[in-house]
Symmetry: C2
């Protein structure tokens, strides 16, 4: 044990275990060990995997099952919850287990019923890979989608999930100069619509990739529909577009892509900071595909994960979650 | 007018005014003009100023008065609203005018009554300059504080506001190497409390200063109570602490500091991304100082500002708001 004395209004004694002190060792070996152990995204779990949890298992085992869902979300990028009651706004109840529901320009939640047409997600067209809401300073971390109804006669509408961290690391390996460009030259993400019921003017200039002080990848922003004409120096325009094309080419390979079809009552929760999602085109064939969606910030998700681990007496390393932070 | 044709399922025509095209010119002159015109924080408005608006003016003039409040908030860093009804949670009503209320570990709002003791803000001690909640990926932008009661017999408790962007630019001018260090070497901000009613584990590693692609200052994070032992390479430890000390010295000069006393019914809204706040020690002398506080994200505040400008038919340049973005 280490004791420290501070001199304030009264003397004050703080006790720290020696392994706390050890955990802050500055030597390269300790620091690298610490960074690596937190890096579930890039190091420990290359494959995005679809684990499944039954909603009915939660009752009576809240802490254990919620922790399991978050462990899958954080380590595998996604988790599916089966048999979620098909009650409108049930998704808000599920989301609240993991943190405060994040309000966006769509409010606390949104409805994908196929009728509205504010953007491509509300149509039946194919949706290419994208991450949601990059025009916010912080894009939502955990994204939840709940199938209130997905008739078996509907064809298409399969969900697609791809690991952006893996694809970005592929680009770094194959074309380091393009990777560097996407870390240096920013994109301007925006959604401006002054005519909708709740008008919005959201823009945020940031790079497609972010590396931290240790040169580890800690953030990916990819959302082609929301990228504006870049506001950058003319000398960077060509290398910016070349790098974007190179990354788009890597994504076209669909390395490790998950493709699956939701059924009525399925709810997926995925890490919008880590993965991109898409969808094949929908042919309703007289049936209906009705989803509801909402978000929780990744700060709150990670906090909940650590709090649950503590409640369960588990010794868990605080993980890197893709939100531009290594710690 | 410029017409563009995209070829999709059907031909599609988009009309753009030529000044839209002009606004995306890549030449240095146009780009620099654009950046400068948005930079209300560092260029146009060096002084943080306390403008005052009367709450009763809002009724019947919502758009005009709300826009005025936001203009002061964005250009001057702070605005005071007088004569706000001293009803508990009235602050949530005021905050909702400017965007969705931001939930934090304190919930939708918090109470500074002098009784609770979760951190220094809940005591009567002096509070040194700090920005709130840096352990989130996005710290709250607009911070609101409402004096439900501030008895005249209470001494002390004056509010202090200082412009962090101005102080950071002073450091850049006087000690460019320290400024650069605070842009390069990250701090780990955290609040971990597994024993409170709503336990939390929040940490985020980021630099104290952030410059953008144009080398303009776009972010400042300063919150000494929430800075952990740095997790950085040993070779950077000395220059990190030297730079922190140098910046603390600049702050001690209190250049352009605002010092004022709230009276019952006063509500201040200030930009937590741009300014730091503090408070002198409180001696209750048998009286009471009871504040409530809450937050709105700066993305949403800027959006509301632009939406109101549009409703009022004003031609407003989308401003830089201190949230790590130039656009």
């Amino acid at each position: 044990m280490l004791k420290t004395w501070f001199k304030g209004e009264t003397n004050h004694v703080t006790k720290h275990p020696t392994d706390w002190l050890r955990s802050y060792c500055y030597c390269d070996a300790c620091l690298n060990h610490d960074i690596t152990s937190r890096d579930v995204i890039s190091v420990h779990n290359q494959e995005v995997e679809l684990h499944v949890v039954d909603y009915n298992a939660i009752e009576g085992n809240e802490n254990t099952v919620q922790f399991k869902i978050l462990k899958h979300l954080i380590e595998s990028g996604i988790c599916m919850i089966k048999n979620v009651p098909t009650v409108p706004e049930q998704i808000l109840k599920v989301a609240s287990m993991f943190g405060p529901v994040r309000s966006t320009l769509y409010g606390k939640g949104y409805d994908l019923g196929g009728d509205q047409g504010e953007n491509r997600a509300f149509t039946t067209s194919e949706l290419p890979f994208h991450q949601d809401s990059p025009y916010y300073e912080t894009k939502p971390g955990a994204q939840l989608l709940h199938a209130l109804r997905f008739d078996s006669c509907v064809t298409g509408g399969e969900s697609l999930i791809i690991d952006m961290f893996r694809s970005a690391e592929t680009l770094r390996r194959e074309s380091p100069e393009h990777f560097r460009t996407l870390c240096e030259v920013p994109a301007t993400f925006e959604t401006i619509d002054l005519k909708r019921n709740e008008p919005c003017y959201l823009e945020h200039q940031k790079t497609h990739f972010a590396v931290d002080y240790f040169d580890k990848l800690v953030g990916v922003n990819w959302s082609p529909d929301h990228v504006l004409v870049p506001r950058i120096r003319s000398e960077d325009v060509n290398r910016y577009y070349a790098a974007c094309r190179a990354f788009a080419k890597v994504l076209e390979r669909k390395e490790g892509m998950l493709k699956f079809r939701l059924t009525t009552g399925d709810l997926i929760i995925f890490n919008n900071c880590r993965v991109a999602h898409g969808r094949t085109a929908i042919q309703s064939c007289g049936g209906k595909r009705h989803l509801q969606g909402t978000y929780v910030n990744m700060n709150d998700v990670k906090s909940k994960y650590m709090v649950l681990a503590n409640k369960l007496g588990l010794n868990v390393t605080p993980p890197k979650v893709g939100n531009n932070s290594s710690f």
